[in-house]
Amino acid sequence: MSTTSPGLLGRTVADPVGRLGLAVSAVLAVLVVTPMVGLVASTLRPTGREAWSDVLTGRLSTSLFWEPLGNSLLVGAVTAAGSVLLGGGLAWLVVMTDAPWRKTIALLATVPFALPSFALALAWETVFRNDLVGGRAGVLADLGVAVPDWIAWGPVPVAATLIAHYFSLSFLLAAAALATVNGELMEAAEMTGATRLQVARSITLPVVTPALVSGALLAFAEGVSNFASPALLGLPVRFQTLSTRLYGAITTGQVERGYVLALLLVGVAATILFASNRIVSGRRSFATIGGKGGRRAVIRLGRSRGPLTALAFALCLSTSVLPGLILLASSFARRTNSFTGGFTTHFWVGESDPSIAQGQRGVLLDPLIIDATLTTVGLGLSVAVGATLLGTAVGYVVVRLRGLAPVTGSLTLLSYLPFLIPGIALGAAFIAQFGRPIGPVPALYGTFALLVIAGIAATLPFAAQAGRSAIGQISRDVEEAAVVAGAGLARRGGRIVLPLASRGLLAGASLVFVNIVRDLSLMVLLVTPALPLLSVLTYRYASEGFAQFANAVTVLIVLLSVGATVLARRLEGPNQPWREAAS
């Protein structure tokens, strides 16, 4: 279907996949390119040009850009590596082995991503905080353990908390990919007497490399763009990252500098992306869902069964249950983030009491909450569906159109960018774009539709990466059989591609949902009072210093997120009985 021959463009148009490619490119142009252009444009006005020189060359450039860049790259790289290591390893344990309670582990492993990253930072503080800043110290310090600054603050805790937060990404993608690998590949390796490690390293790993790389890329982007962790754990030792610099520049009214930083971040990410693409597409496409009903092997762990399971649980508990509980507790604590001042249910169900938080009622009594929850869920679902469809299309084109490297390359990049465009910039771009009617389309500004569109754009990275690795698993033959049967692209998509990719796509979709449900920076710019969102409520409370109320709402968000993730996993099961049967 994709052989180079004269008239490449003509061929592209003739080939339905090619047409799909063009369509997808058009959509991405609207969703991603225009905001980018806007971003660039605003940095080309006089003040912007000044910003460029400030950032890159001026006497400030070192502390404004280069040092934070170094720190960000460090954090990003470590986060990516750590996430892939933990996430991949866990996925392997869950999908490929006979470890007990695999389903439980799988579930727990998806929770951290649903938690807000400040919850993990908070958890870290609760344990490791020392007296550098003052106030009350963490558990260890209370026990008289002298916690060195480098553990309590700076790169180590930042990276650690980010890994704890984002290894779920790698886990979901890797697990999805592993689930589709034909067990006989591993069995063939087992026959040679290779150790489990050797098999995992030389056979399993390379075969799922594309998925792992996707996971790593996401983790990296998240790592460099995350603000909460470096702000909470980095600032006290003046550990500045691009994200703190970027956020700072924007909030202190030096927007152009912020945008310049963002663009540079995009540049960095692009380079990394292309590098990693070379790794992936340099190899052949390792389709693993073949037309031959390949058997699925279960690796017997034998003696290492106990220890490995214990390890996995330790990891999950410390990254999901602990922070989760701390978050929950802090929504009951009388005093902000302090568990010594006693607890109360006031922030959940308390009637208005003027002495507390200016008579703010418990969140469950706040009529807005129901409304906000519904809107939030609705938005989350719509975006999840939309983004997943688009992402699948992108993934499909990228995988199946291997002929045209430039097209696929740029698609990959575009679908990856939104991560690195600051939410506030993206939001502004969408207002500017959809604030006025475009031809027949009325002005979408202030409508639910715009929220959805913006959401799709913002979460495209998840959807596209997931789609790409999921599609990559489907062997050509299986689809060609449908082609011969006369099934058009759409039909194939619905009946063959989506079902076969569903595991990976559902994983992606749940990521999207979670991300939207808790995202603030983008939505807050687009919402109107008519469309209340939970994330906006948390902002409302937080801005007034009602931390407990904010935490309470956050707990709701987490519940939604976890619920969605669980649901996604539930759906996977019945979805793919053939997999269960063959295992």
Binding site: G134, P236, T244, I250, T251, S338, A432, V524, V527
Partner: protein, 367 residues
């Protein structure tokens, strides 16, 4: 051509609008006709205002969106670009940026309700209406220091004794703290005087440093000032009870009202030379092409409080100890020190806007 970035003529004072001179009652009728008014607010207390307003003026619906000042600025700019204004009224902080990027660009216009005009000092009428002042001031732990503030002079904070024991939010991620630093630079003579008063010698400036204020900042950073991400961290660090020698820190005076709730011992350091911190305005602006011009003005009028001693129920949400109404005919809450005794500098947004960037850059060089 409403809404183009320079809609109402950049910089130039907005053309006088007949509505500006109408009395509350006159506004009310027209407002009833309009029936609704939308507002962006940087504080969610707007919800309370909304309720009260709708009770006072039935039939006029307030649509309130609370989003931070930074986001209001971005949003208002974008809306202008798209020609679809989102709100009639903007209630926001970050004064210097607002003046610089919105008012001067004609994206906001000033309106001073005639009813309260006379009660307002000039600096709160022009260039943009200010409804109240909030603070970022030096506070200490009164449990650890029962007999008053541990420092009497800002320069003491640069002494080894306070090394690593001064806490504030990183001025590079929070506008109000940047304003604090800016004000200190603007007040360099006073800073210089305070230095001589404490040390008996004039400040000598390191190279690259141009004023006493800048020198103080440099010394403070060199003295290991601890930067955190949000005021609550500062409050916790400084105020938490049961500490041997707690740090001091710059934070919001009005947060003191949570002391009992949060089991803290926050107290403002008064009689600090030359000043313990700043008071800065929360401002109110009109959209130059507001869809509901009358209702908008009525809401502004409402936000300034009624004619009673305390601004009445209209102003109640903002009538908290530690915040200060700008109207001189409204007496601040008794539980807090009068602004004069607190001794903070009240910033001049216009002046700050000029040097703000340079200060930010200075901070950058300090890391």
């Amino acid at each position: 051509g409403g809404g183009s970035p320079t809609g109402a003529g950049a910089g130039a004072p907005a053309a006088p609008d007949p509505l500006d001179s109408l009395s509350t009652e006159e506004l009310l009728e027209q407002a009833r006709a309009e029936g609704t008014v939308s507002v962006y607010s940087f504080t969610s207390r707007i919800a309370a205002v909304e309720a009260e307003f709708e009770r006072t003026y039935p039939g006029i619906d307030v649509v309130a969106t609370d989003i931070s000042s930074t986001e209001q600025i971005a949003r208002i700019k974008a809306e202008a670009a798209a020609g679809s204004p989102g709100a009639d009224v903007a209630y926001l902080s970050d004064a210097p940026v607002v003046l610089d990027e919105l008012l001067d660009e004609g994206l906001l216009r000033n309106y001073v309700p005639p009813r309260v005009a006379d009660a307002l000092p000039a600096e709160f009428r022009e260039p943009l209406l200010a409804s109240r002042l909030s603070t970022k001031t030096l506070m200490f732990n009164e449990e650890a220091h029962p007999d008053g503030p541990p420092v009497q002079n800002l320069w003491e904070l640069t002494d080894p004794e306070w090394n690593g024991r001064v806490v504030m939010v990183d001025p590079q991620i929070r506008g109000d703290y940047l304003d604090l630093m800016t004000e200190i630079v603007l007040r360099s003579e006073e800073m210089g005087a305070a230095h001589e008063a404490l040390r008996g010698v004039p400040v000598e400036l390191d190279e690259g440093i141009e004023s006493a204020g800048e020198q103080w900042i440099a010394d403070l950073y060199a003295n290991g000032v601890v930067l955190v991400g949000d005021t609550d961290s500062v409050n916790a660090a400084v105020g938490a009870r049961g500490q041997q020698d707690p740090p001091v820190g710059f934070t919001t005076y009005s947060d003191r009202r949570d002391n009992s709730e949060e089991n803290r011992a926050l107290q403002a350091a008064t009689e600090v030379a030359p000043a313990p911190g700043i008071a800065f305005p929360a401002m109110i602006g009109l959209s130059p092409d507001a869809a509901n011009p009358a209702a908008a003005r009525l809401l502004v009028d409402f936000l300034m409080g009624d004619d009673s001693e305390t601004g009445g129920t209209w102003f109640e949400p903002f009538y908290v100890p530690g915040d200060y109404p700008t109207r001189d005919d409204v007496t601040p809450p008794a539980e807090a020190l009068p602004l004069a005794e607190l001794g903070t500098w009240t910033i001049d947004p216009g002046a700050s806007a000029g040097v703000r960037r340079d200060v930010a850059d200075l901070l950058l060089t300090l890391g």
